[in-house]
Amino acid sequence: MWMYLQFPTLLLDRMQVLQPELKERPVVLFHEQEQRVMQTNPAAETVGIQPGYPLSDAWLLADTLGTFRWREARQRHLLQQVATDLYQVFAVISLDPPSGLWLDLAPMQKLYPEPQQNKLQLQQQLAPWELRYQSGVGATPLQAKMIAQSQVSTVADIPIGYLPCPLPLQEKLQRMGLHTLGALQAIPRALAGRRLGKELVVLLARIQGEQRESLHFFRPPVWFYQRLELTAEANSWQALRFPLNRLLQDLEHFLESRQQETRQLLITLYHRDDEPTDITLGFAHGSYVAQELAQFCQLKMENCALEAPVLELSLQARQLQPRHGDHGDLLQGPRQHKKSLPRLLNELQLRLGQQRVWGVQNHADWLPEHAWRKVLAGQPLGQAYVQDRPLWLLPEPRPVQIQHWVLLQGPERFTLPWWSQDGDQICDRDYWKARHRDGQPGWLFYEHQHGCWWQHGWFS
């Protein structure tokens, strides 16, 4: 069994969900070349605008009409998103762009034994999308599609006009007095083939299921992309926040259903004439909660001004990774934190900059510069491999006047092994603990090659 779903106003319905203010006035999508109305919203239908009308007629019927270009690519993409969502409850989906898709019900029979359950699942899954759709069930894909489009109850009642064949052939059938599919099927196949051509025979075989339909089965995308047209030009970041939040909620839904999290967002702002602006947000730790991501965006965007008014907005999330939850201690109970550490670190990095927040970690090496490492913030310190080191290390050793210092303890000699890569910069050193004439204990070394004293750290 197959089910066909037809979304007559797919793109417009979606725009209304993303921008609820559109619902209040008549809005149509029009075909740019033909200047014809493609999709209408309920408000437009009440004033009498129907798909197929010339755009000029639509303007006459409603003076507050909102018009947007119908974009096929956008609608195809949207159909994919719908299919991605349906993939959660239906295993075999085949797209019929630009506005329909098939669901194969046979594999789902074990899960949903009652035919009614299919409908119920579908309703539940599509409810948040607020899409208008027509569905039809048939033994073959073509039957399901024609029933969905014509909304008749049996296959025999399908009007000839819904047959997927060229218009001249349809007219020919009508002239012969064949108005329904049932009437056409009643004619012996051989006779029909002789009178009307081989094409019709093949079509009838497809409708009957005697010839297998070659459908491409849908696979869910591996990363997230959505693009959104704004109702009005946005001049400030504030105006972008609401639409962006919508996209982030979709992203959360996408990630939630895959148990994944993202480490990178790419927001693209499209302008009228200028090149699009790309804003990349990288996170040290994955995140999937829309509210959290919105706050990160806020932190990033607060400081930058928009170069030009924004017409459209898109959101991409590519670096997806499986989630690893921090479940806390079972016995101690959940910790009373207001914010998780990864989230805090993400916020700090976004505001201060990626390289300005880091952790320190011990590293197995003798050389003071290499005995520690800058690591991702939040990593534990690790075991120390050397002892008796100063608390503070200067970022770069600095030359000192040895007269200001009293040497206390030493020397501790460092010689680079012959295989080391650092041989050019670092030569043999003698480290001393010393006291400055002001009294602070410091860590000095004498470099033999250059014959001078350097300070490398402080003990206090």
């Binding site: 320190v360 005995a371 100063p390 002001d438």
Partner: protein, 207 residues
């Protein structure tokens, strides 16, 4: 309440005999028995403590080692905001292999203050160390509010400051001369300012 009175309280110019909300105070040692005694037990959690030093590296860090160890024991992180040099990992080993030290090197002081506030409100910090040249009364007040909402020991390490009123829990001035330190307590909980006897420069504990 009188707006004028509120203004005085906001500036921290008014000493209040009784806190309006009773809160259980947690102390941690300040690494020296005399100093502990003078501070009434040591450093108090959820307050900010100011350490004024004329020169960096004059023995201020060893006083904070017990607080850092306490943070690690509680499973919380230690935040170093705008430190004067790199905290050296091998020397920090005395705080334990599992301790998390997070270093922030903000561009300017406003970023540093924003970071400190965010960290404190997140509840993730066990110890927050903030190095600053000079903090305004407003900045101190905001930091104080964030600290009292947190579970952290908060230390601000600055240059010597003029003795204006600020909302610090403790103000400690470190006099350092020839390897000897003297602690001058400018403000403390439940006591008058006091100067402690000279001591040898304290050392960071090696683990």
């Amino acid at each position: 309440m009188q707006p004028f009175l509120q203004q005085l309280m906001d500036r921290g110019a008014l000493w209040q005999g009784r806190q309006s909300h009773v809160q259980e105070l947690a102390w941690v040692s300040a690494a020296d028995p005399l100093l502990d005694q003078a501070l009434g037990g040591g450093w108090v959690r959820s307050r900010i403590h100011e350490l004024q030093v004329q020169q960096r590296f004059s023995g201020e860090m060893p006083l904070l080692a017990p607080a850092i160890n306490n943070a690690v024991a509680r499973g919380l992180s230690v935040f170093w905001v705008a430190p004067p040099a790199i905290p050296n990992a091998p020397a920090l080993a005395s705080t334990g292999a599992e301790s998390r030290h997070i270093v922030l090197t903000p561009n300017d002081e406003s970023d540093a203050l924003w970071a400190a506030e965010t960290i404190l409100y997140s509840g993730q910090a066990g110890v927050l160390l903030l190095w600053a040249k000079k903090l305004s009364a407003t900045a101190t007040r905001r930091l104080h509010l964030a600290a009292s909402d947190s579970d952290a020991y908060v230390f601000v390490i600055t240059d010597w400051q003029p003795e204006e009123a600020r909302s610090y829990g403790t103000r400690l001035r470190i006099h350092h001369e020839q390897g000897q330190v003297q602690w001058q307590i400018l403000k403390r909980h439940g006591g008058w300012p006091v100067r402690l006897p000279r001591r040898a420069l304290p050392r960071w504990p090696h683990g």
